[in-house]
Each structure stands twice: as structure tokens, then as C-alpha cells.
């Protein structure tokens, strides 16, 4: 074969390799160098190279066998493939393979073998060492035959994985109990089961020069805004990481401001929530070996929406929405308000509260600011300790935590009883909107400090600062506070209230159609 046609075939198969699982989109893969060393015809030189690469990898298994009168080697990474299917689908037919006598040419025998023998759908060819190694890493079994400079790879993935289980972070009473798992293909399967539409496209990229992790970009063609999609692709290609172990690593790359307190990229562990966001014109990213997926653009009001809201009736859903908004503001503002009012503006309190406050103040040595900061830090410590402990010791920590924060501190005269109540309220309400927990902690501490410095004036200035900051955030050219701040009355059907499904179903509002968004709709 001539060089040009080889190169053409190489290019064709390169694109196929890059587009595994997708429906044909020709984007170059990210992170991998486009240099290939081609396979040789000699089995011994191929095996020498490959054995050299895998020298020291004790999970690399290869078996020599003879098929069609030629030597062959079947390779796999131990525990990545399903051994039963390998035996039944590959080794047994290989052993019985008898090419017709008329075929003597190596390539013809190879083509016959490839097309007639095996009983798989997922069967690919590799032309270079890099592709072969890539297939091996992805759980394929690779067959090399003497005299052929191509390899056949069989998709026999059978590695063990954590079963599809209820997601830990986002439970739902009335929705499905499935959450994402680690393997990328299974997550894609979970999404595909819910949107049975060929317009749902998956594009796979490879990130991380060391770890070579697969990353999948999912979107629904026709609903998504092409400019947002292009921006996501551009950012993916420019990520320069060594190892990519969790989706959180690349989350910062998709945000405009790396120091931002509020995240403009959403995360979800539920396939149904993921599909819901996709159908609103968002782009989703699934990272291999992480059950947490990313969606962009992400708005502030999405922190308060979850799947249960849509399964219950409109009145109760509205009530829980309002509750969530109230609890977020409570958890962020209440310690600051308490410090501000108790230190500077006691006039606001009704007399009974004032007396209770005076009594507790009388007995404690510290100022309110110090008490508040101290209690919040102790609470965060107990919470961190609780996250890392095995279950047996967790019980003991609960008791100790309750004692430290609770009655003993009050009886010993260290802190006042109202402060304990404030901390308890803060802790409870901060868990209602878990995605806002991290920014909430930062804001809470800032407000306590500001309130201790300057009372309600300081608190209001802090609030103004945070609102300025929120209003200036943009997530992929969509304003972060839409549809609250550039106001759109119709979009409010799903913000603080949740109107019945008949109204929600009438007209879809995609993320890029929200007021104030500068998404370029002329592309695509």
C-alpha cells in the first residue's frame, strides 16, 4: 500500500478511535500526542515492544496460541475483562477457526478471521502500539497474529465496579434511586436510558497526560446553544493536567474566575437530574471514575431545585422551595444578625428576649463575636471529624460533639444559651441546600466578623458586597442571578414557586434564553 492511502486509513481510524461511542463528530482528542508507532508484521517484534512497555506490570497477561496455522497472541489486563466471554466468544471460535483453503494471503486470512469468526459487536482494529495499549487499558482483549500488522481488539469489559446504588449526596423520595457509578460507559448508559433520542450526543475526550482519563461531553443537539458548546470544547482542549482523578479537578477550568466563591458549574450525582439539565440546553460532562458529573451553565436558582420538587404537588413544592430559600438566608445571616443585634442594636429585641440576652451575657466572659466565631469553628471541626470517621467511632464523636457544643459549655459559663440555639439553627438550615454549603460557610464567617465590627451597618455592607458579586457573575454569558435579577416573570414559574406541570410543560425555557444572556445564538 502506498503511504498516502495508509495515512488516509490511519486518519479514518484515528477519528473512529477518538469518537468511540459518539455518533460521528470529528474533533481531535485532547491531551494525547498525535504520534503513532505502527505495528509490525512480525509478531516477535510486536511482542518485544509491548512486553517492554509492560515490563513490571504484573497485571499484564498474554497467551500464545496457534490459529489458522499461524502463531497468535491474545493479551489482556488481568481482571479488566470478562473471562467467560473471552473463552466463549474469542478463544473457542479461534481454536475452531478454519479459513477456506482458497485464502492463503495473510491479509485475506485476517480479514476472513475478523469478519466471520467472532460473535461480537464491539470489535475494533488497532494499527499502532499506542492504540493497542489504549485498547488494553480500556478493558479490551487484543489479538495479534503473526504476519499481520493490525490487531483486533474485543470489547469484553468485565471489571468489577460498585453497583448502581442510591446516590449519597442527593437523595430523593419520589424519584429513581439510581445514581452514577464510576465507569464512564455505564454512566453513559444510565443517561441514554432516560433520553432515548439520537439527538443526545456523547463526545469523548482524553485528558491528563499521565492518567489519560476519558471525559465525555453530553448535550442534546437542537436544544443546546452552539456557542456554549464550542466554549466548553475549547476549554476542554486547553486543560493541561497530569492526572485527572476526580471531576472536581477540572471543575475550576470551566469557571471564569478561579477564585470565585460561588461555583458557576453545577454538579449532580443523579442521572435524572443530569438529563433534566441537558434538556434545558445545558452541556454535561461525565468524567471516568467519578460519580459526580458537571453541568454548565449553572445558575444561582438551580441550587434550590432538585428532583423531588417536580414529583410532588404544586402547593407542597412551592412550600419547600420557599423553605429552601429561607433556610439558605437564615443559615448565612442568623449568626451575623445575632451578633449585630446583641452587640449594637439591642433596641430591636422585645423585652423578654432582651432580658434573656442580658442574663446570658452576665454569666459569660467573652464577647458575642468571639463566642460566635468559636462556636462556628467548633461545629466545623466536629463536622469534619464526622465525615472522616468509620461508623464505630462516629457514635462517640456525636456524644462528644453534643457535649462540647451543648449543655456543658453553657453550664460551665463559657457561652450563652442563645448562642447554642443559633448554632443549632445554622447547622440544620445549612444542610437543606447542600450545594451552597461551601460558599455559605465563607459568607457566614465574613458576616460574623463584619457584624462584630460594625453592627447592622457592617452586615448590610457585607450583604451588599455579596450581592454585587453575585450580580456580576456570569456563567457562559448567562447572568448568574437570572431570572431573579434581569427579571422575567414567566421564568419565575420554577424559581420560588413551582407551578403545576401543565404550565411547566407548555413552553420550555432553555438556559440561554434567560433574560440578560449574551449567548451568541447565531451559530449553529
Amino acid at each position: 500500500m502506498s503511504d498516502s492511502s495508509t495515512k488516509g486509513i490511519i486518519k479514518y481510524f484515528k477519528s473512529k478511535f477518538a469518537a468511540i461511542g459518539s455518533s460521528g463528530n470529528n474533533k481531535p482528542e485532547a491531551g494525547c500526542t498525535p504520534e503513532y508507532t505502527m505495528l509490525k508484521k512480525s509478531l516477535i517484534s510486536n511482542m518485544t515492544y509491548i512486553n517492554g512497555k509492560f515490563d513490571g506490570c504484573s497485571d499484564f497477561v498474554s497467551k500464545e496460541l496457534i490459529t489458522c496455522g499461524r502463531k497468535a497472541v491474545i493479551m489482556e489486563i488481568d481482571n479488566m475483562i470478562d473471562k467467560l466471554q473471552l473463552t466463549q466468544g474469542v478463544l473457542a471460535p479461534l481454536a475452531d477457526a478454519k479459513p477456506p483453503v482458497s485464502l492463503t494471503d495473510d491479509d485475506a486470512v485476517f480479514n476472513w478471521l475478523r469478519d466471520n469468526t467472532f460473535t461480537f459487536v464491539d470489535q475494533k482494529e488497532a494499527f499502532s502500539y499506542e492504540e493497542t495499549i489504549g485498547f488494553l487499558m480500556a478493558g479490551f482483549a487484543v489479538l495479534l497474529i503473526e504476519g499481520i500488522d493490525k490487531a483486533i481488539a474485543f470489547g469484553l469489559q468485565g471489571f468489577k465496579f460498585r453497583g448502581i446504588d442510591e446516590p449519597n449526596t442527593d437523595k430523593s423520595l419520589r424519584g429513581s434511586r439510581e445514581g452514577f457509578v464510576e465507569p464512564l460507559r455505564l454512566n453513559m448508559m444510565l443517561v441514554r436510558r432516560r433520553v432515548k433520542n439520537p439527538n443526545l450526543k456523547f463526545e469523548i475526550y482524553n485528558l491528563g497526560s499521565e492518567s489519560r482519563t476519558d471525559v465525555c461531553v453530553a448535550y442534546i443537539k437542537g436544544t443546546v446553544a452552539e456557542s456554549v458548546l464550542n466554549e466548553v470544547r475549547h476549554r476542554l482542549r486547553t486543560i493541561d493536567l497530569d492526572t485527572l482523578l476526580a471531576s472536581g479537578y477540572i471543575q475550576a477550568f470551566f469557571q471564569d474566575d478561579p477564585f470565585s466563591i460561588f461555583s458557576t458549574v453545577g454538579t449532580t450525582e443523579r442521572p435524572d437530574a443530569f438529563c433534566g439539565k441537558l434538556s434545558e440546553g445545558r452541556v454535561g460532562i461525565i468524567v471516568d471514575n467519578t460519580p459526580i458529573t458537571l453541568t454548565m451553565p449553572f445558575l444561582f436558582v438551580e441550587n434550590f431545585q432538585n428532583m423531588d420538587d417536580y414529583a410532588v404537588g404544586p402547593y407542597y413544592a412551592t412550600f419547600t422551595r420557599i423553605l429552601k430559600y429561607l433556610s439558605f438566608f437564615t443559615s448565612v445571616l442568623i449568626p451575623g444578625l445575632y451578633v449585630a443585634i446583641g452587640s449594637f442594636h439591642q433596641a430591636l429585641l422585645p423585652s423578654q428576649l432582651l432580658y434573656a440576652l442580658a442574663q446570658s451575657e452576665e454569666a459569660t466572659p467573652f464577647t458575642l463575636v468571639f463566642e460566635a466565631l468559636f462556636m462556628q469553628v467548633i461545629y466545623e471541626m466536629v463536622r469534619e471529624a464526622g465525615l472522616r470517621l468509620p461508623k464505630q467511632i462516629g457514635f462517640a464523636i456525636n456524644i462528644v460533639g453534643a457535649l462540647i457544643i451543648g449543655q456543658a459549655a453553657v453550664s460551665a459559663g463559657l457561652i450563652g444559651a442563645p448562642m447554642v440555639i443559633v448554632v443549632a439553627i445554622t447547622a440544620t438550615t445549612s444542610l437543606i441546600t447542600p450545594t451552597l454549603y461551601e460558599p455559605g460557610v465563607v459568607m457566614r464567617f465574613m458576616f460574623i466578623v463584619l457584624a462584630g465590627m460594625a453592627g447592622i451597618l457592617g452586615l448590610t455592607l457585607g450583604v451588599a458586597f455579596c450581592v454585587y458579586y453575585l450580580c456580576s457573575l456570569k456563567s457562559y454569558e448567562v447572568p448568574y442571578t437570572a431570572p431573579i435579577s434581569p427579571f422575567n416573570g414567566y421564568a419565575w414559574r420554577d424559581v420560588v414557586i413551582r407551578l403545576p406541570w401543565k404550565i411547566l410543560a407548555k413552553r420550555k425555557i432553555a438556559a440561554q434564553d434567560l433574560p440578560g444572556s449574551n449567548v451568541d445564538k447565531t451559530i449553529g
Binding site: A363, T367, L457
Partner: protein
């Protein structure tokens, strides 16, 4: 080169900013008003002393009472919820600040329940006291003010069962005035408004300490005091105070005792009342007509006779109660307007609002000539209910 110098410049600025923020955070930039360093004032009694004012404060005692936060195990302390502080000074503000010489804590006024002014202080220019309250931003306009028949210190120091009675009781007594309508609830805001009009005088509820037969002293609200031109003019007793309330449309409860001609008394509960003041006459002889209308219920009928409550009985009763109310209102007018020369009813304001042409002529001398106003009182009433039975028991 330029980039590194810009970066180091930014670093230096950030460092300086951090260094500046820390001291501000730790020391605060606004004066702390922690409750630890303040005493909550519950009641304030103002008297005259040797050199200026003698003030008696009732201060909330946080060590008393049960409840958490304290080092005690919730034992029932016998100490009262308030402690007494007495201090003096050349002006009110001076006396307030001198209190720290005894107490060590700044006084906090936002929760004050009652301001009691002694009789002597009222006899001088009452405005002197009022100015302090109007200017201070901690004192709310909705706080209550009282006059003490005697010294205000006695009212503040009044003890019952060995414990000092906190001033909150005074506030409760005055807020529940609707039960008897013999007391008027006077807030600082009312006095401010009246003073601002320039032609209306104010009434202030009066507190007296009465001595019973067995030597016990009781604290009770006893009518009201009338001011004229910011001087104390005199007292009204409880019936006259109710007359004032009738005319001001504030008598929304209480009991009318009617003497029946054939013997016995009927007690009527006042449900609601309203009054309208209109101007009749001209500038030479100003005359005012007061229309009072009210609703009552019959609640108690005490007599030896057996009455059947029917239409004629009720119309008789109606006439008697109207006469009673008219007498009360007339008594109030006679005392306040004629004897004390003070327009506590707001007649001047009503003339100004409804007949500004007349006010042009008589307005400038209204303060002196108010007593010459002819007042005509018309009363109208309705008896709504008579209870569950229509016979005397």
C-alpha cells in the same frame, strides 16, 4: 520587567491591606455597646434636688430570675428583678452620666417602661424634661409618661411584700385602661404632637400612693394631670378624666353606674364610643359642639324591685345613661377648660382645621381665650345587649 514590577506592586498592596484589616477586625471600628457594659433601665423617676435634678432609676437585675446562661442552678432567687439607683446632676443628661459613678455601666434607655415625673418638676416648665426625651435617639416616642402625686422617687421605690415593684406594672396598668376608661394612656408621642401644634395642651396620667386604713400603701393610677402652657395646672379625678376621654373619643370600655329612679343601680359596660367636634358660632363668641355617641351593654342590675327589661325600661335607661355621660363630659370641660384654662381637648386644632378664616382672627390669642369658648354637649347612645335574662334575679 514591567510585569514583575506590577506583580510585586500588587503583592505589596495586598500585604498592606491585610495588615490594615487585622487590627480593625480585632478592635472594631465602632464603639461596642455590649450588654455586659450596659444597664437596662426599666423606669426613670425625675425629681428636683438641691442642685438640679434627682433621678431614681429602676435597673433590670440580670442576676435575678431563673433561666439558663447563669452559673446558678436555676435556684429561685428572692431578689427582685430590679435594683434602684439614685443620682443627681445639673441637667437630665448630666444626671444620667453621673449614674456611672455609682454603677460602672452606661445606662441603656431603649427598654424603659415608664417615665415618672414628680409634681414639682411639672410645676416648672415641663418642656425642660420633654426636650431631653425628644432629642435622645434611644428614647422611643411610644414610651409612657406619668406624673407622680408627690415625689417620683416614692413611686419608683414602692415596695410590695418586700420587693420593689418594677415599672412594667405601670405600663400594664396604663395599657389596660380600656377596662375602666378612668385612666388615659399617654405616650410621649402624644405630648410631642400636642406641643408641636402650639395650641393644644396635654394631659398626663397621674400615679398616687394611697394609704389604706390598715397602714398599707397601694400604688394606683388616679386620674390625670392637666398642663397649661407647659406648666402644671391641676388634677382631674377619675370621673373627669373619663369625661376627657369621652370628648377625645378614647373611651372604649369601662363601667357606667346608673341610678334608677325607682331604686337600685344598673351597671352598663361601655362597648365603644366616638365623638365629633364641630365649630358653631363666630369669631366674637366661639362655640363648639361636641357630639358623643356610644354603645353599651347592660351587665348588672342591682335592686330590691323586680324589673322587667322591656322597651320602656330600656328607653328610660338610655336617657339616664346619656345624662350621666353628659354630666361627666361637662365636669371635664368645667374643670379643664374653665378652671385650668387649658385646651386639652384639641378644640383649637379643630377650629384651625375646619374654619381657618376664624382661626386667622382668634388663633393668636387662643391660649388665653380658650376658656371663653361655649361648649355644647350632645349625647346619643344605643344599648346593644342585655345579657342572658330579661328579669332581675
Amino acid at each position: 520587567m514591567q510585569k514583575t514590577s506590577k506583580k510585586t506592586a500588587k503583592k505589596i498592596i495586598a500585604l498592606i491591606a491585610c495588615m490594615l484589616i487585622l487590627p480593625i477586625v480585632l478592635t472594631g471600628c465602632m464603639p461596642y455597646e455590649e450588654l455586659k457594659s450596659e444597664s437596662i433601665v426599666e423606669g426613670m423617676g425625675i425629681d428636683y434636688g438641691d442642685n438640679g435634678y434627682n433621678i431614681t432609676f429602676q435597673i433590670y437585675n440580670p442576676k435575678s430570675g431563673g433561666g439558663g446562661g447563669g452559673g446558678d442552678n436555676g435556684k429561685n432567687s428572692t431578689s427582685s428583678t430590679v435594683t434602684i439607683l439614685q443620682c443627681s446632676g445639673a441637667s437630665l443628661f448630666d444626671a444620667v452620666r453621673n449614674a456611672t459613678l455609682q454603677n460602672g455601666r452606661k445606662l441603656y434607655f431603649s427598654n424603659t417602661r415608664a417615665y415618672v415625673v414628680g409634681e414639682e418638676v411639672c410645676k416648672e416648665n415641663f418642656n425642660k424634661v420633654l426636650d431631653f426625651m425628644e432629642r435622645n435617639q434611644q428614647i422611643r416616642p411610644s414610651d409612657h409618661i406619668y406624673i407622680a402625686k408627690g415625689k417620683a422617687a416614692d413611686v419608683m421605690l414602692y415596695q410590695k411584700d418586700g420587693e420593689i415593684v418594677p415599672a412594667v406594672n405601670l405600663q400594664l396598668m396604663s395599657e389596660n385602661n380600656v377596662q375602666t376608661s378612668k385612666v388615659e394612656e399617654v405616650q410621649l408621642f402624644d405630648i410631642f404632637k400636642n406641643t408641636a401644634t402650639g395650641c393644644t395642651d396635654s394631659t398626663i396620667s397621674a400615679i398616687a400612693i394611697k394609704e389604706e386604713n390598715n397602714g398599707e400603701k397601694t400604688l394606683e393610677m388616679d386620674g390625670s394631670a392637666v398642663l397649661h402652657n407647659n406648666h402644671f395646672a391641676g388634677y382631674l379625678d377619675d370621673k373627669e378624666t373619663r369625661g376627657c376621654l369621652w370628648i377625645k373619643s378614647k373611651a372604649q370600655g369601662g363601667v357606667l353606674i346608673l341610678n334608677l329612679p325607682e331604686g337600685g343601680t344598673a351597671s352598663m359596660e361601655i362597648i365603644k364610643s366616638s365623638s365629633k367636634v364641630s365649630f358653631s358660632g363666630d369669631e366674637k363668641t366661639p362655640a363648639v359642639t361636641v357630639d358623643i355617641s356610644f354603645h353599651t351593654n347592660l351587665v348588672e342590675l342591682q335592686s330590691q324591685e323586680n324589673y322587667t327589661i322591656d322597651g320602656s325600661f330600656l328607653s328610660n335607661l338610655k336617657k339616664i345613661q346619656e345624662d350621666t355621660v353628659k354630666a361627666e363630659a361637662q365636669a371635664a370641660i368645667d374643670k379643664a377648660l374653665k378652671d385650668y384654662d387649658s385646651d386639652v381637648f384639641g378644640f383649637g386644632v379643630k377650629i384651625f382645621q375646619n374654619r381657618p378664616d376664624i382661626w386667622h382672627k382668634i388663633g393668636s390669642e387662643w391660649n388665653q381665650n380658650a376658656k371663653n369658648t361655649k361648649v355644647e354637649i350632645k349625647v346619643d347612645s344605643i344599648i346593644s345587649h342585655i345579657g342572658l335574662t330579661n328579669q332581675t334575679a
